[in-house]
Every structure is written in structure tokens, then in C-alpha cells.
């Protein structure tokens, strides 16, 4: 289990990285934290001719509070840095909560937020959380920058709209409307494993306390992270009582056609989505009630 030969460069700018990717041609591959890529190299499932290590690009790192209350995170910011960041915890509590579910500290110490998002593993937690948060990804390529909503970013199994010579540069997480609530729930075989199924939820309340928007991001249940619309349709305009929660969970699960593998059958996955959607909604609700009571 040793990688096949490849060349390696470590540019120090975004432009330099894009040039290297372009010049490297189809065999060139960007290296972020490498926590998924290097295992693939070791198995020789991936045999790039050139690795473009983004670790030298300072401009890709950092966590920034935006004036509108949002948060911008550089793609090469280590997952551990995000996890430990107070400002991230404050402005994007769902991201902080999600980080703790991603693999193990040894992985998060190297793994980057952008690396995980661009890798597009359908069972990964972070992409689904970004769908729930309606994050926007800033991409940069030879022709310049473009902003793509996370909800449009994922197009298939490990497949995104990123062009081969394009980089995910920044992740913009909008300020949540006042009173928003979040929760993430998953079932994985062991602590730190990819999820058999998972649900990340962002609830936006209306002035009257009913739900104005329920963004339900699902992971582990399709060929890509899924923004479920069925649950939202049930919840919008309703208050979050037990009946609404049960109905939304049911609708979310029913709308799915999850794949089966050696760890989970389609039926089990669909069932888990029902259970986890309910649990996530309940937990989000409880969090609110506690806060309400506590003033």
C-alpha cells in the first residue's frame, strides 16, 4: 500500500495553484488536508501525476466574521481550527456541532473544511450541514471567481460543479435569522465513522413562532448530500408540535430512495432518516424551549 509515483508542487498563491492545476492537465489533483486523498493514493485507487499542495497558500486559511453577521471560512482552514473557533461556535453553531462528528481528532487536525466539502463524500456530515445552512461556496478558476450556493454545488457521487482547474476558496455561511435553531443527528457504526444516515437541520421561525423554513440536509442516503424538500413542505407555516414533527419525519423518509451496501439496507437507511429527522427536530425544538424559558 504505497502510492504510485507523482510529482508535487506547493504554490503559495491561489493563482499559482490554479496555474499548476491547469498545467498539470487531467492528472493534476489538488491536495488539501489529504485525509481522503492519501488513503486513496496508498490503495493506488488514485494515481495522479501531480499533486498541487494547497497548504502553502495562506490566502486560503482563516475564519472571518462578516459585517452582516455571517461567517466566512477559508477552504484550507483545518477542521480542528473551526471546531475550536469561538466565533464559529457563535455564528455557526451547527458547523461546530457537526465538526465533533467528523472522524477523529487526528483526522480533523489535518483535514480541512474545504477539502471535505469539495471531496463530496455523500456520507460526510459537513456538506449536508452546508446545505441546511444555505452556505455559499466561492470558487476560483482561470476565469476568475464565482459564487455557487452549496445547494447547487453537488451534482453526483463525489461529483461537484468544480472544474478541474478550479479551487474552492471560501465558504460563506450567512447569518441565521433571529431565533433559528439547529441540530444534527446521525447513526454511524462506530464513533467517528461515516454515517449510515444523518440529518442536519436549520429551522427558521416566523414572527408568530411557526416555522417559516425548515432546511433539512441529509447525508449517507444518496449519491450526494440531499436537501430534503418534503419535510420543509410539511413544516412550513406550522408550529413544531409532535404531530408536525412526526409528519415531517415521515415525509422526509418517504421521499427518499436510499442505496444499500454492506452496512445498511435501503429500508434501514430510510427508517433511520425517519427516526433521525424526528430526533433532530425534537432536539432543535427543545433547545429553543430551554432558551425561551431561560429568557
Amino acid at each position: 500500500m504505497k502510492p504510485a509515483p507523482f510529482d508535487y508542487v506547493r504554490p503559495d498563491s491561489i493563482e499559482g495553484a490554479i496555474d499548476a492545476l491547469r498545467e498539470g492537465g487531467p492528472g493534476a489533483k489538488a491536495l488539501a488536508g489529504g485525509q481522503s486523498l492519501i488513503p486513496a493514493l496508498n490503495f493506488r485507487l488514485a494515481q495522479p501525476s501531480l499533486l498541487v499542495d494547497l497548504a502553502g497558500v495562506d490566502a486560503l486559511r482563516g475564519i472571518r466574521s462578516d459585517e452582516d453577521g455571517g461567517l466566512t471560512i477559508g477552504a484550507m482552514t483545518r477542521q480542528r481550527t473551526v471546531e475550536r473557533s469561538d466565533v464559529a461556535g457563535e455564528r455557526a453553531p451547527l458547523v461546530s456541532e457537526t465538526m465533533a462528528l467528523v472522524a477523529h481528532p487526528q483526522i480533523r487536525n489535518r483535514g480541512t473544511l474545504g477539502g471535505s466539502l469539495a471531496h463530496a463524500d455523500p456520507a460526510a456530515e459537513l456538506p449536508a450541514a452546508m446545505l441546511a445552512l444555505d452556505a455559499v461556496f466561492r470558487l476560483h478558476g482561470p476565469a476568475g471567481s464565482r459564487r455557487v450556493p452549496a445547494r447547487d454545488f453537488y451534482i453526483g457521487l463525489f461529483e461537484t460543479v468544480l472544474a478541474p482547474d478550479e479551487l474552492l476558496v471560501e465558504i460563506e455561511i450567512p447569518a441565521p435569522p433571529p431565533g433559528s435553531r439547529f441540530a444534527i443527528e446521525e447513526v454511524s457504526r462506530r464513533h467517528g465513522d461515516f454515517a449510515l444516515a444523518g440529518v442536519a437541520i436549520a429551522l427558521t421561525p416566523a414572527d408568530d413562532g411557526s416555522i417559516s423554513d425548515a432546511a433539512i440536509g441529509l447525508f449517507g442516503v444518496g449519491d450526494r448530500p440531499i436537501l430534503s424538500t418534503a419535510g420543509n413542505a410539511v413544516l412550513r407555516g406550522r408550529s413544531l408540535d409532535a404531530a408536525a414533527i412526526a409528519e415531517a419525519a415521515e415525509a422526509t423518509a418517504d421521499a427518499l430512495d436510499p442505496p444499500g451496501d454492506i452496512h445498511a439496507s435501503p429500508a434501514y437507511r430510510r427508517h433511520l432518516v425517519r427516526v433521525l429527522t424526528r430526533r433532530a427536530l425534537e432536539r432543535a425544538n427543545e433547545a429553543r424551549e430551554t432558551r425561551d424559558r431561560g429568557g
Binding site: A4, R44, I262, A267, L272
Partner: protein, 798 residues
């Protein structure tokens, strides 16, 4: 066989002590030598071309591109081996059981005309680095004509199944019937007869250190040195010497620190183990091969796949009238280890119980999957699973408590030695040496507070909507089989003691427990003894560490050697101190005259006196304070125990949480309780893996679907509960120290325990749990009563 002449309590004063381990410091500081740590000048690195196909005719191998690749030194296929090509030895021939069918086919160093499992070695590449060797492997063109693979155990004997070994008329490797009494006749009068099909699937041994070999040939000395991750260096030395035509004195096999064994690192004569020494001799340069994790899933042996159709007959009181069992055991593509695994299953099924009538038949079958040899437990799990499940079923039919039906059937202390009237894996009759089962059950029930759980806790939890259940199962473990082990103990001139034994060590704490056994008779501490294991240049006779036999067999040899050295110490001291040996006491690194502590002489001085530079060693005596002793038990001794568990099932997610786990174990005399507990903890963790996490999944083409630690799930620290242990001691009469083995005990009953506790947790609606391992997915399907949902239903694309 030697027996101590000293009173046991004096000679064995360190029995039951728990000194800190002698081996830890090196392991903790990264200075211990493992095989992959060996660096030699000019060393080359090997990689293997392996079959992608489970079954096929090998039509050709084109090595030309690989040979031309930069860095490649050599590339060989089977034909290049000439006369050296030969199937491996049959390590354990079948016991002398009447009317036995046995058809032996053992693994080959490189596939020649056929491949019989995915990952079977086809060619060997040697290069300057492992990186380059792997580059070259990718350049080898292998032409295989696929043949229909035999994937499922139950299909192996079907009409029209692909024939794996063409010299035989079917895929049957062995057929064995053992019985006592007359089950059919006896069972006709039973109150309850209940039977089921039970299934246990495959798992990997998965030591964290993969296998590895470094071979080095010294042309001038004509000596071969091999570092090998083996549990049994001496048999490997003997075999390699024989194969290579070298004297045994000129082959040295070193098993240094080994990163876990669990069975498959035994004296397997794996292809790599046979080929690396050959390559080193042929190239005149050291060659290293370190198995990677991916290879390990194909190239290291596996275990556990069995299907039992079993029935129990009990009377109205729940007393066992008899058991009948017919089972299939999957051997994989070859069978180097004979009948060990299925005979263990057959024998261990009888458990702690009085079974007057027993009819047990098994068929060992070849399939196109990796080879099966013993893995921690080695078939004992299966017997325990079947028997414990049958007792649960019978208890349910009769409406009696599952612990009660066990209690009613226990062999009682006055029934030992107990002859089960069938043969065990060591060719000896299955005779339990000693045991006292009811106190262990009582202790376990008390520790887990069984009555309170049943009477108040469980109903309260149920009322609160929680599904929490309890399980209690009993098991025996045949341990400490022969033939023998030896040890040499010497007092050195620095006053410390050297202890050398032939077994290999893979974490069992031999550097400490054996040191205790040698230190006791010499009045020293375990820390005063330097232990060497697993180096054939240091000790030449023995077999190895397996079958929970190290402490029993080698341990008694260590102790006997120390007793013999003590005799020598006393003889020399008697001379020096001018006192009769009976008036001398040994302790504190010296010998003194009883009652006159100032008349003393140190062990260091005695060692010097015993090895004089002038004068004569008297005829009939030997120089040095050294002795070698051997111990061979007449047959294995039988350890026993009870595991109890409280588990909560989340019925929504089918995930489990173990709330309590209790082990009460009886392995006779305990040398070091800390080490014994460690063995139990590790065994239970392995058992939990086999019950809920670890399953090698093969598809219909006998292709393994989860050959990585991403998909083959070892239990982690969040999956293994705190394990509460207690020990009872029923010494074995079969060895002077009364020791029984413990290495596999923790793993053996866990599957049966999970089944019982999960059923109990799920209450009246519980499905029957008749298979292992489970998983959340499988448990969900069982709860749903929907077996079809277990495997991915292939979705159609709209």
C-alpha cells in the same frame, strides 16, 4: 515430565502476584524490536502479485515488464521455484477417529495451474524498495480463465459446484462423526425437543501488526537468519531447515516483539514465510516483506464460518437427555490445520453440562475463500453458541429461567475427571480435569444483581419504554494442550537470572509471568529475571504459543527449571557455607543459613563458584547454576467461566449499549491476576467484535467486499464496556502448578451472550437470534421480521 521436589507454596511464592511488566519499558519508549524494525545493509523488499479471481485456471504470467522496471532485482513465478515448489505441510493431521474421511489439500507457495481464492500469491517481486516492488506488481500481466467460484459454505457440496481441488470428487475436506449414547432413542422420550439452524460468519484475526518476514543469508557461515511474526518460531525453523536442506543449527528464526497474534501467526508456513528465505539465499541479500493491511484480508488466515443444524432433548425438569448436531465448517481454499477448528466446536458444545447422549457430525468443506485456521477461540465459540442457544430455547419451552436450566445440568465437582467419551483436538479423550461450575454462576448472578434486575429494574425500565435485557451464559475452554515446552534458567554472575523458552510471545506478558515462575523458587523478584522468548538460537525445542497453552505448558517448564536451579544453588551454597542444604534459605538474592542471616553468600558469588576457572568440575556434575526442564501435560486442562451482560437496545435505530458486563472465570492457579484480567478484557473485546461489528462479507463471486479497516469494523474504545471480573480457582491436577489457560476465554461466549441478552431486551416481540455476527442493519431486519431486507435490494434506475 519433571515435577517439583519442593513444597509448592515455598517454590511458588510469586504465584498470584502482579508485578509490573518487564517488557513495558521498551514497548513504551519505542525501542522494542518488531519485525518491520529490522534494517540490514543491502536489504531488498518483496511484494506479491495476487489473484483477482476467486477461482480460475492460471494460463500465464508475463513478468517481462516487471523485470525491466527500474529497481526490480528479481521476479519469480511458481515454475521458477523448481523443486522448492511444494504444498505446505499438513500441520495437524486428523485425530484417530473411526470412519473419518479426510482429504488434505494445503496451500502452495505460488499458484501454479489454478488460483483458488482472491489474493492467492502468483508471483514474487523483489526490488530496492517496497514502493518499487509495488510499481512492478502493477506491471505484471496475469492471464486467468475464470472458473465458477464456490462462495457460500452451503453451496460447496451442491451438485455441480465448481471443484476446487480436482484430485477429489467433491469439495468435501473431511467428514467426522463422534457420538456417545444413542441420541435418537433417548430423545424419543423427551418432554421437549427443540432444534434450529445456527449460523456464524467469518471474521479476521486483525492484529494491529500485520505479518512480516525478514530473511538474511550469510554465505560464508552458511547460516540463515529469519525474523518472522510467528507464534511458533521453532517449528518454522525446523521446517525451513528441512525445505532448504540446511542443518537446523544453521537456521535461526527470531520472533521478536510481535504485535498481536490471535491464531493466524502460528506455524503456518505461509507462502511468504517459505519464499523469503529462499529468495534471500538465492539473491545472497537480505529480503524483507511486510504484509500490508489490504493483503492481510486475503493472505492471512481467517475463521468462524459454520452452519449448525442442532437439536436438544430435555426432560420435564429441563435436564438434558441429549444433543444432536450436524454442521458445515468452511475451510476456505486449503486446509493446513486439519480438523482443529471443527473438533473444537464439536467438543466445546458439551460445555459445563452433563450430556448423556450426543450425536455430532460435521463436514469440513473447501470454498474459494481465504484459508481458515484457528483464530482466538478456534471453533469453541460455535459450540458454545449452539449449546447455549439450545438451552435458552428449551428453557423457554419449559417456562423456566435460563439460568436455572443451566444450573440443573452442570457437572458437579464429584463428577471430575469427567469423560465425555469423544476425542479432543489433541488426540486425547475429551476428559475434563477439574471444575466447579455452580459457584461461578452464583458469583456472576450476584455481581450483576440478577434477581434485582429481573424483579424490579427491568419491569421499571420496560414501563419507562426502555428495552433493556440481561444475558448469562456459561462455557468451557479446553486449554494447555501438549505436546511440551521447555525452558532454561541460569543464574548469572551478576546475580540476575536468565530465562529462555522456545515459545513466541505476542503480548501475553510472558516476560513477566514466566519471570515470576522462575524468580519465586530462587527468592528473587520478577524484575530480576531477564526473559528471552522466540529465538531458536537461544532455545531449540518447543512448539509455540497457541491454544491458550503458553502459561500452562511453558509456564510449568519455567517453574521446573527454576526448581532444578534452586537445587544447584543449594548444593553450591551448602559447600560454601558448610551447612546442610536443608538448613539453607534462599531469598533476597542470596542464600543464608536458617536463623543465621549473616552466614550468607550471594547468588552472584555462587554463580562464579559454580563456574570455576581453576580446579575441576566434579564428575557427574555440571558447571553453572543452570538447568533446562521440559513439561508436557498428558492432555489439555479445561478452564471455565460465566459471562453476564445487561444491554439496552434502541429499538428505533437497532443500536446497542452495553450497560454492564461481568466475567467470572476459573483458570485454576493464577500466575499474575493483572495479566489474566488483561487477557479477559481483550478476549471480550474480540468477542464483541465478532458479535456486532466484525464480518467479512463475500459476494456471490467469493469476492471480499470489505477489505479495509474502513469497512471491516474492529471495536473501538467507545464500543467496549467496562468489564467487571472475578476469579475462582479450581486447580488443574494435570500440572504441578495447577494452571489452566486463559488466552481465548474472553472471546468464546460473547456471541451466545449477545443473542440471549438482545432477545431478553426485546421482550415478547423479540425475534430469535440464531446467527452471528449481528449488526444494526441485521438487527433492524430481525426486529422487522424481514429477512429479505438484509442485503441491498438492487435498486433499479428509473
Amino acid at each position: 515430565m519433571s515435577r517439583p521436589s519442593e513444597p509448592a507454596e515455598r517454590a511458588s511464592s510469586l504465584l498470584g502476584a502482579a508485578p509490573r511488566r518487564n517488557e513495558d519499558e521498551r514497548l513504551l519508549t519505542g525501542t522494542a524490536l518488531f519485525v518491520d524494525d529490522v534494517h540490514l545493509d543491502g536489504m531488498l523488499h518483496a511484494a506479491f502479485v495476487r489473484s483477482d479471481h476467486a477461482h480460475g485456471r492460471l494460463r500465464g504470467v508475463d513478468l517481462s515488464a516487471a523485470r525491466a522496471h527500474p529497481g526490480v532485482v528479481a521476479a519469480w513465478v511458481a515454475e521458477d521455484l523448481g523443486d522448492y515448489w511444494a504444498p505446505g505441510p499438513l500441520l495437524v493431521p486428523p485425530p484417530p477417529i473411526e470412519r473419518l474421511t479426510f482429504r488434505s489439500a494445503t496451500q502452495v507457495p505460488l499458484a501454479r495451474d489454478k488460483v483458488r481464492h482472491v489474493g492467492e500469491a502468483i508471483a514474487l517481486i523483489v526490488a530496492r524498495s517496497r514502493y518499487e516492488a509495488e510499481d512492478a506488481v502493477a506491471l505484471v500481466e496475469v492471464d486467468i480463465e475464470p472458473l465458477p467460484p464456490v462462495a457460500r459454505t452451503e453451496d460447496s457440496l451442491a451438485e455441480g459446484a465448481g471443484r476446487i481441488h480436482e484430485q477429489f470428487d467433491s469439495n468435501l475436506a473431511a467428514h467426522v462423526v463422534q457420538s456417545k449414547g444413542d441420541y435418537e432413542r433417548a430423545a424419543s422420550g423427551a418432554t421437549v425437543r427443540v432444534g434450529r439452524r445456527f449460523r456464524i460468519d467469518r471474521g479476521a484475526s486483525a492484529p494491529i501488526e500485520n505479518r512480516g518476514i525478514v530473511a538474511s543469508w550469510d554465505e560464508r557461515a552458511g547460516e540463515l537468519t529469519v525474523w518472522d511474526t510467528t507464534q511458533a518460531p521453532i517449528p518454522i525453523r525446523n521446517g525451513l531447515a528441512d525445505m532448504l536442506g540446511l542443518p537446523e543449527t544453521h537456521v535461526r528464526v527470531i520472533a521478536p516483539f510481535i504485535g498481536g497474534g490471535f491464531g493466524p501467526k502460528i506455524m503456518m508456513f505461509y507462502p511468504e514465510e517459505v519464499l523469503l528465505p529462499w529468495a534471500a539465499v538465492r539473491l545472497g541479500r537480505p529480503v524483507k516483506w511486510i504484509e500490508d493491511r489490504q493483503e492481510s484480508f486475503f493472505a492471512t488466515t481467517q475463521e468462524r464460518e459454520q452452519i449448525h443444524d442442532a437439536e436438544i432433548a430435555v426432560d420435564a425438569d429441563g435436564r438434558i437427555i441429549g444433543v444432536s448436531d450436524s454442521f458445515l465448517c468452511d475451510s476456505g481454499a486449503y486446509n493446513p490445520y486439519g480438523l482443529t477448528v471443527p473438533i473444537n466446536s464439536q467438543c466445546t458444545l458439551l460445555g459445563q453440562y452433563r450430556v448423556p447422549n450426543y450425536e455430532s457430525e460435521f463436514r469440513l468443506v473447501y470454498t474459494n475463500k481465504p484459508i481458515v485456521t484457528p483464530v482466538r477461540g478456534a471453533g469453541r465459540q460455535h459450540g458454545v453458541f449452539v449449546m447455549e442457544r439450545l438451552l435458552d430455547l428449551a428453557a423457554a419451552e419449559l417456562g423456566i429461567d435460563p439460568t436455572e436450566i443451566r444450573r440443573r445440568n452442570f457437572l458437579t465437582p464429584d463428577e471430575f475427571p469427567h469423560d465425555h467419551e469423544i476425542l479432543y483436538q489433541d488426540f486425547a479423550p475429551l476428559v475434563y480435569d477439574s471444575g466447579d461450575y455452580e459457584p461461578a454462576l452464583d458469583r456472576a448472578l450476584e455481581m450483576i444483581d440478577y434477581e434485582a434486575f429481573r424483579a424490579t429494574e427491568q419491569p421499571a425500565l420496560r414501563a419507562a419504554g426502555r428495552q433493556v435485557g440481561i444475558g448469562v451464559v456459561c462455557y468451557v475452554e479446553g486449554t494447555g494442550i501438549g505436546p511440551y515446552e521447555g525452558a532454561r534458567v541460569s543464574v548469572r554472575s551478576d546475580g540476575r537470572v536468565s530465562l529462555v523458552t522456545g515459545v513466541g510471545t505476542q503480548g501475553q506478558g510472558h516476560f513477566t509471568s514466566f519471570a515470576q515462575l522462575a524468580a519465586g523458587p530462587l527468592g528473587l523478584d520478577a524484575a530480576d529475571v531477564d526473559v528471552v522468548t522466540g529465538d531458536t538460537a537461544k532455545f531449540s525445542w518447543g512448539t509455540g504459543t497457541f491454544a491458550s497453552r503458553g502459561a500452562v505448558v511453558a509456564g510449568n517448564a519455567c517453574h521446573a527449571a527454576a526448581i532444578a536451579v534452586r537445587e544447584k544453588v543449594l548444593a553450591v551454597a551448602s559447600d560454601a557455607l558448610e551447612a546442610a542444604p536443608d538448613d539453607l534459605e534462599v531469598g533476597g538474592g542470596a542464600v543464608h543459613v536458617r536463623g543465621v542471616p549473616e552466614r550468607r553468600i550471594t547468588l552472584a558469588e555462587l554463580a562464579v563458584r559454580a563456574n570455576p576457572l581453576r580446579g575441576a568440575v566434579k564428575p557427574g556434575t555440571e558447571p553453572g547454576l543452570e538447568a533446562t526442564a521440559y513439561f508436557g501435560p498428558e492432555r489439555g486442562c479445561t478452564a471455565s467461566g460465566v459471562h453476564a451482560m445487561i444491554v439496552e437496545v434502541d429499538p428505533e435505530t437497532a443500536m446497542l449499549e452495553i450497560l454492564r458486563y461481568v466475567v467470572v472465570h476459573d483458570c485454576g492457579t493464577i500466575i499474575n491476576p493483572t495479566i489474566v484480567n488483561g487477557q479477559i478484557h481483550g478476549g471480550v473485546a474480540h468477542g464483541i467484535g465478532n458479535a456486532f461489528f466484525e464480518q467479512l462479507v463475500f459476494d456471490e463471486g467469493a469476492q471480499l467486499l470489505n477489505a479495509s479497516f474502513m469497512d471491516y469494523l474492529l471495536p473501538t474504545a467507545t464500543d467496549v464496556p467496562f468489564i467487571e471480573t472475578a476469579h475462582l480457582c479450581t486447580p488443574s491436577p494435570l500440572n504441578p502448578l495447577g494452571i489452566k489457560g486463559v488466552g481465548e476465554a474472553g472471546a468464546i461466549p460473547v456471541a451466545a451472550l449477545f443473542a440471549q441478552a438482545i432477545e431478553d431486551a426485546l421482550g415478547e416481540q423479540a425475534p430469535e437470534v440464531l446467527e452471528m455476527p449481528l449488526s444494526p442493519d441485521r438487527l433492524f431486519a430481525l426486529i422487522r421480521g424481514n429477512d429479505a431486507a438484509t442485503r441491498p435490494a438492487r435498486r433499479t434506475v428509473p
